[in-house]
Symmetry: C2
Subunit: 353 residues, 2 copies
């Protein structure tokens, strides 16, 4: 508390990210990182850029990175915006597109950074309850609003919305920006990027932190109509000219270009997810059908909090959210097969009568 | 222009950074980068961190980097804030400390990002004219205000304000945050960091982009009373949990720790600055007494714009600002001795009768 803070600072409730403990030999299944290393080509690109030129500013437009994303999705680079992690991209989108006279809409159970951005930029919002199966119902978004945002798959549920349902939301909201936050889309979902040509109000946001195994480098991007992208650029250029550094730009390019590695690791994660879901179901968990790199599950008799604490004693961290409707659930990131076996063994020990 | 933009986006006038042309063999004296490479220890630290762990999120608090800055200046780490370049740190400081009911103050000739931040966060400001010698007069800041910010040395003039003058401004503003933006302080000035223990309203902002030769990596920091720092942390944690990546953090630590390299390169730049200032004076330029890694100079007969264009034809870029009071001046970044000789030779050719 300080007399020198702006009024806004007093009112903020900042986001609290999942723990990043500095403990060796931890099985870290709490922040949905990729259990596999990034593509070796990423490390090669960084090694190449790790030279005396670090004394020079980066390309403020990060044009190589935008081009590689545009090429991957067969877009023009003026349909692509990049930022320092998708959290920064989201922040700019909240200020640039979602700060409107009417309240915006997002699910009641969702990425908990959304209400934080609303606090930062003084944006009113209404939470739209998920149904009893934790699903987004497109009809619920056919009401007056200043904009719409939801993750797809949703977090922390892992549930996917199909493109037909997304079109329904877009069609009933031609005058609102609709933002689909696809942090987890590559683990089984179909991206809405194919819809941006038809919907000038659609912005799709993705990250390199999950499927591209680069949480440590902070790269996120948005895809949409060039006018939406220009709005984000105007915010970015009023905030920080150079958010992407001289190592992240070529690293991101290399990550986009190594399609084989990307596919292999995404498939490995999906296969481990199937194994884990099966194990959990067999051990009396209810497991939501996840299309993300995590599962969301509750046990029929053991409390989620107790299980999380017991796992922690065995050096395994998972995520527990102490909040209404989901406080019986654990969110467990998909690890390697080996980590998964250790997790299952630990769960067996904890759950045995 | 788009119907989906927030009202704010329509009103913004984004910052335009100095050119980053992709031309080989350019003598780039337009954006005040360091002509020397970063410390080799920086490259070693990056090489060490360029591994499979890039798949994991970085430490959200970047505590190693804060500690190394704290150690360097003999502070506690809760007096240090870090961000993705000092532009991001400045942005958070504008929103967290300078967004007040009363207009803030900054010099009329100064870093042109300040009014842009004011546009982004809807902060009113009054520009305080520099005197006829382009100096900041501390008495001019003894008026009602919502906060004060100025660079020291000022940009693009390079003129330094001594600590006595800064204390004068602090003493006459006990109820305002006073932000000293020390991007160029290491090239001859005395930092105001020694004053933060005595002035709870003082925030000092520095960057790794100039004296530490890391413009390409995006590292900036702020030093002040722990309460001021907490205000910035609250903004940052409502914007982006992880602005500093897994390569920038150890690179920044290495740059802080290699004090010998830092001193050598800063001294080399100061020595070249002396040579260039002498040359320019001998060739009928008025040169302001710069304490930064650039000089600000006007020729008695040739227009600044003409000289800039003629230099450009010889692959030398300098900065020209087409704005009142300074449109006869050129801002020239200090290069290596070799670059400086080429610059002087080119100027001789251009100016010869």
């Amino acid at each position: 508390m300080s007399q020198f803070w702006s009024d806004l600072v007093h009112k903020l409730t900042p986001y609290v990210p999942g723990e990043q403990p500095k403990i060796d030999n931890l099985i870290k299944l709490n922040t949905n990182e990729n259990p596999y290393s990034p593509s070796p080509k990423v490390n090669q690109a960084i090694a190449k850029a790790n030279n005396g030129k670090l004394t020079l500013y980066p390309d403020p437009g990060a044009s190589d990175l935008k081009q590689s994303i545009a090429d991957y999705y067969q877009l023009n680079s003026n349909q692509v915006f990049v930022g320092n992690g998708s959290d920064e991209v989201l922040a700019h989108a909240f200020l640039g597109l979602l700060k409107q006279d009417k309240p915006i809409l997002f699910p009641d159970i969702t990425y908990s950074f959304y209400p934080v951005y609303c606090g930062l930029y003084e944006i009113e919002f209404n939470k739209v309850p998920l149904n009893d199966n934790f699903e987004i119902n497109p009809e619920d978004y056919a009401i007056e609003n200043g904009g719409i945002i939801f993750p797809n798959p949703n977090a922390p549920t892992g549930l996917l919305l199909g493109l037909t349902a997304i079109k329904k939301i877009l069609n009933s909201n031609p005058n609102s920006a609709v933002i689909v936050d696809e942090a987890y889309i590559d683990f089984g979902g179909e991206t809405a990027i194919s819809l941006v040509q038809d919907y000038p109000n659609l912005l799709v946001i993705q990250t390199f932190s999950k499927s591209r195994a680069l949480a440590g480098l902070r790269i996120g991007f948005a895809v949409g109509h060039p006018d939406l992208i220009e709005g984000l650029e105007r915010i970015k250029n009023s905030f920080n000219s150079y958010p992407m550094d001289r190592l992240a730009i070529p690293a991101g390019v290399a990550a986009m270009e190594d399609k084989d590695y990307f596919k292999q690791t995404c498939q490995a994660i999906q296969s481990t997810r199937t194994q884990l879901s099966q194990f959990l179901t067999e051990h009396n968990f209810t497991v939501l059908p996840s299309q993300a790199n995590f599962v969301f599950a509750k046990h029929e008799s053991h409390s989620a909090e107790d299980i999380a604490q017991a796992l922690r004693k065995q050096n395994i961290i998972v995520r527990y959210f102490n909040q209404p409707r989901i406080d019986e659930y654990l969110r467990i990131t998909i690890g390697t097969d080996e980590q998964n076996e250790q997790l299952c063994q630990a769960l067996k020990d904890i759950l045995k009568p």
